[in-house]
Subunit: 97 residues, 2 copies
DNA sequence: GGATCGTGCAACTTTTTGGTTGCGCGTTTC
DNA sequence: GAAACGCGCAACCAAAAAGTTGCACGATCC
């Protein structure tokens, strides 16, 4: 999940998709300096982690963002922060004791 | 930032550091199957994005987690979710209109 | 029905990255 | 002060990932 978002190009694609309802591969590729095939590969990666969902419309393949998945990552970050706060509290106690 | 967390080993190191106050490179390496130098490299990466801060103590180099930085990533995810909700609302309106 | 558009698939090249090995240097410890 | 410990640096290796090119195929437009 983080690995999927860790690529600048993919993060850009997520950005594009977060601003639009749905976009075709060519439309997405048009806003980058990459080939259409490169964009296709990145979309496959995003799809594998569930961040994005393809949807065929005529001869176009539209991609839609699945923001529910983002909540997972958000939750993890919060958990790490929390457990670190615990550790910090223990450290505090230790230093004061 | 996401790229830094995107590696399994680095995410593991963050996990270790979130559970302890501070840990030396060797101590961190001892809990993985990796060399000390490999761990050193990963810590450098984490340090570059500000997730971790080194602190020299005698001949040991301790590393401490900087959880404030995690809030940035958390905020970004929330923002993307939000703007997508907007897009979804517009799509809804479009379809109903 | 022929041209065009959007796409999928496969092979290939290039770059990045994760990992190791080897050595030297400051800090302890006895 | 010599041995041991914890590190840092640099060179090197291998595997994975990013990107391109070339071709074929269904959908659309005229």
């Amino acid at each position: 999940m983080f690995a999927a978002l860790g690529d600048v190009t993919r993060l850009g694609l997520v950005g594009q998709l977060s601003a639009a309802k749905a976009r075709s591969i060519s439309a997405l590729a048009a806003e980058t300096r990459l080939t259409r095939q490169a964009v296709t590969k990145h979309l496959k990666v995003l799809q594998q982690v569930g961040l994005v969902r393809p949807q065929r419309v005529g001869r176009e393949q539209l991609y839609v963002l699945q923001p529910e998945i983002l909540a997972e990552a958000e939750g993890y970050l919060r958990a790490v922060s929390a457990s670190w706060d615990d550790a910090l509290a223990r450290l505090q106690t230790y230093l004061e004791g």
